[in-house]
Amino acid sequence: MSRATLGWIVLGWVGFALLPWYGFDRYADPALSDYLVTGSGLVHGLREAWWLLPILAPLLMTLRPALSSSRQSDSTWLIASGALGLALIVIQGFSIGLNGWTTDILKTIFGEPGPSQAGMGYGAALTSTAFLIILCHGLAARGWCRGDAFVTSSIGLVIALIGIFVFFPVSAILASAFADNDGNLAPLEFVAKFTDRSIWGLDCLTSDLRCGVAWNTLFLGLLVGVGTTALGLAFALIATRTEFRYKKLLRVMSVLPIITPPFVIGLALILIFGRSGMLSTALWEWFGIPRSRWIYGLPGIFIAQLLAFTPIAFLVLIGVVQGISPTLEEASQTLRAKSWTTFLTVTLPLMRPGLANAFLLGFVESLADFGNPLVLGGNYEVLSTKIFFAVVGAQQDQGRAAVLSIILLAFTLGAFRLQHAWLGKKVYTTVTGKGDTGLALPLPRRVAMASCATAIPWAFFTLAVYVVIAIGAFVRSMGRDYTPTLEHFLTAFRIERTEWGLFFAGSAWDSFFATVKVAGVAAPLTAAVGLLTAYLLTRQRFSGQRAFEFGTLLSFAIPGTVVGVSYILAFNVPPIEITGTGFILVMCFVFRNMPVGVRAGIATLSQIDKSLDEASLTLGARSATTMHRVVLPLLRPAVVASLVYSFVRAMTAVSAVIFLVTAEYNMATTYIVGRVEAGEFGLAIAYSTALIFVMLLAIVAIQFLVGERRLGRRSSSASTGRAPVPAVSS
């Protein structure tokens, strides 16, 4: 019986006997005494909620191994009490709802309406967690996962969280795909919706008619996946392998689009290329080229998504390029391979996991993107917007939305499947425990040329887009009145000095503070859960691992609109009733953005020799310590990537949160969308500029706090190689 197990048993009792079992009562005004003891599960159980009393049984069972210590039966008792406790809590939670029994069977047996209860609160959450951990500790004592309680508990916790915040909502919305509008099972209706011509039609090949929305989405996704991977690779190579003088600048510039709310890029593109855009006007006035609407549709979405998602590919690939052991390239050179051959046969194949990951991210991001198709789509329909309009549009057809999201899901999962087949079972370990001295090879000339030729014009284009955004924030009305002004900022961010202190009078402050708060909480959580999951997936072997991996990546495949609706469906009623809180926003962000952390973590971890962890374990460090002292320092690029990504996504996401925000927790993006709808472009762009600035600060802070990975390789400038020089200079 370890001290940790004992602690969790105590916490289980605390959750049941002391903390309030139920969440906030919406009708009564709770006094402080309600929050301790009197609101606890035990007191409720003794008064009227008899269904809570059985939970005492597993809690009492935990006392047996806690008091006596006979090694052998300990694990059995722990497993039994943990499993029973969880089962009891789940069963009572799902069978008794706000309006009595939840299923027809129970109603007929015990009569209507039956007892009622509210959503679970802190007590229930703590007790459930304790049961889960106790169960996992029991399994560890049985020798699961090499007897490592940290590992089993992590697996259990991640599975439970994914179950609650991914599978539960998804099953809620998918259930409606097979149901008609009254909630009855209707498979035929599903088939009819699924085979609809507007989804699968191929008319654009033979005539002028439009193709099905599924083909549109797929085509766009492939284009964007290839494009972002190529551009990301070019940037990554320039940043790590060349003497290019402005690579720092390049790096900052390539990160800019990721910190931009997606529709802002769309807006900027319209301001440049639209019918009355700057460039179109100039071309018309100077060269007589007629204005056109070409930006609306595939070209516009494609350019906007390239701008938006190249940085993700860059962040993934830079870690991979840095991780490639120079020794391997040197080995190739000594085998008389020219630098071009080396690049083609050694460097590039070693980047395969990274390239595959980058492509996958670009593809999936493109499928799920909502803001850009909304702004720039024109007649080119994609699945995500189609789903949105099916839910909120005139049709209000949840079933159709669900069918469309099943198709979207199938595409994404197909991509993962392909990636797996392509990478195969090859080993890409390049950071081994054997110290490795070697200098990274300079890029072959033509690769360097090609990289610069693609990356630099793109960087200039990005710059142009941002100049337009910046100008837009400081002029009265873009396209019509170029008088410089600060009025947009004043409207949004005015601070008044009053006699009782500063008063944040600007209209944007509320949503700004809420956004920063939610993003600030969500980012570290996301990175932690994501990297922990990556660690479990790459470093541990347990049954059901594939299903586990699937579960962690599933949330990424679901477009934000669907996530938003599914969260509303799943979490608006007991047992888990959290809509309208900041918590649901945080959880939504954590599980939507976690897959990036998982992917980045896996890509980096698969390059780090497993025996490093094992060495740490045999030196008496537990898994948790090993994580902290050995794995995390080597994972720094992945930590930065996932922290930055999750913070930024939490600041810029629109699609999912548009369903979840409340007056109290209004997010910046939804506020900006509101301004756009009201036609206040200046204010919208000004607010976006402010957001971009805040995110820039955050990224610099994250880079600074996490620091860079030290691999102890010599840098190319240190010719003597005597002094230890930090390896990565970028």
């Binding site: 090499r146 007897g147 054997k434 020799d609 094992e614 740490s616 030196l619 460090a621 310590t625």
Partner: protein, 371 residues
């Protein structure tokens, strides 16, 4: 050197811990899905002994080592370290350290930080941990290199850092996973002697995995020969060499000529065996009269240019290689082609020459019991 100031602050270790511990496997089986990597293996490593797990690749020796470390969990059976059941303990909870084949030095830490890692994760103050690390570094002769990054050391130096890091917690059992495989041949001999010396002077229990039989013979107190997930034979180097239990061991440990013979009669401990006209008195090793197999070491065949002596086998030299300290021959004979090593002769016998062959009865010839 033996008097190491053991830090009594180690949380889970008793204060007086110069005691080496035994390692015991009881009917241990390890399966990966349908593949059985280790099948029903039992053995004991006595305290203070260096025991080698020897075998061809894929025989389960590394899996066995990793099960001692706790890096793999057994599917069936029990593991005891120092008489205590550790079967379900995780690697971090076992008082066992390991030197990895790849050394597994943490690339983001200096040499000193690497070595001090063990004590510092045990919660020992940094200063003390560094002192312990410095002591072990000087033990392996790496003074002055502690500030370097692992990548700035040579292969041999990195290996010594790995040893120092494994020693720093003064574990009950020290494990080596093919520690010499990344070193060049000259260095290999020196490092293996260093390891042996260290083991004896610190009185450590060591389990050592290798596929190199010469290395195993050189360093071990006892050798466990594994083949196809099972133990083929356990014994001292000499027992294995002189009394191989089966054909596999006879062939794997040292070179051996396998000859067919006829056991004629048993008198006391000895048996009379005839092979190719030669008669030999050998320990019978439980065999009854009838056909037997003999393992004959190359240096137990005495080669003579004079083709006369009775009771000898006639042969013809096919190849001869001059190796300085010895000369190696391939000889055709009625009992089969023989590999013969001859010491202390200046000039090799020319290929094609007729020779007579005799067997040294005292050593190097043995009946293989189970063949």
């Amino acid at each position: 050197m033996n008097q190491m100031t053991s830090p009594s602050t180690l949380p889970h270790a008793p204060a007086s811990r110069k005691q080496a511990a035994s390692v015991e496997f009881r009917n241990v089986t390890k399966r990966y899905g349908i593949v059985t990597a280790v099948s029903d293996v039992s053995f004991t490593i006595e305290p203070g002994q260096l025991v080698t797990l020897l075998g061809p690749s894929g025989c389960g020796k590394t899996t066995t080592l990793r099960m001692i470390a706790g890096l793999e969990m057994v599917s069936e059976g029990q593991i005891l370290i120092g008489g205590k059941d550790v079967t379900h303990l995780s690697a971090a909870d076992r008082d066992v350290s390991m030197v990895f084949q790849s050394y597994a030095l943490f690339p983001h830490m200096s040499v000193l930080e690497n070595v001090a890692y063990g004590p510092s994760v045990q919660g020992i103050p940094k200063k003390e941990a560094y002192a312990m690390a410095m002591e072990k570094l000087s033990l392996v002769g790496l003074n002055g290199l502690e500030k370097r990054a692992p990548s700035e050391l040579s292969g041999g130096q990195q290996q010594r850092v790995a040893v120092a890091r494994a020693l720093v917690l003064e574990p009950q059992v020290l494990l080596f996973d093919e520690p010499l495989s990344n070193l060049d041949a000259k260095l290999r001999r020196r490092v293996r002697e260093d390891i042996r010396e260290l083991q004896q002077s610190l009185n450590l229990t060591v389990a050592y995995v290798t596929h190199d039989q010469e290395e195993a013979l050189a360093v071990s107190d006892r050798i466990i020969v594994m083949s196809n997930a099972r133990i083929a034979q356990t014994g001292t180097p000499r027992e294995l060499y002189e009394e191989p239990a089966d054909l596999f061991v006879a062939d794997f440990i040292g070179d051996a000529n396998i000859l067919s013979g006829e056991l004629v009669s048993v008198t006391g401990p000895l048996a009379l065996v005839q092979t190719g006209g030669a008669s030999l008195h050998l320990p019978h090793r439980g065999m009854r009269p009838g056909p037997v197999k003999l393992a004959v070491r190359p240096d137990a065949i005495l080669i003579d240019e004079a083709t006369s002596s009775s009771g000898a086998v006639a042969g013809r030299v096919r190849k001869a290689s001059y190796l300085g300290t010895q000369i190696e021959y391939e000889v055709e004979s009625p009992v089969g082609d023989l590999f013969v090593v001859q010491y202390g002769r200046k000039e090799p016998i020319a290929p094609g020459a007729q020779v007579s062959l005799a067997f040294a009865e005292g050593r190097g010839v043995a009946i293989i019991p189970s063949a």
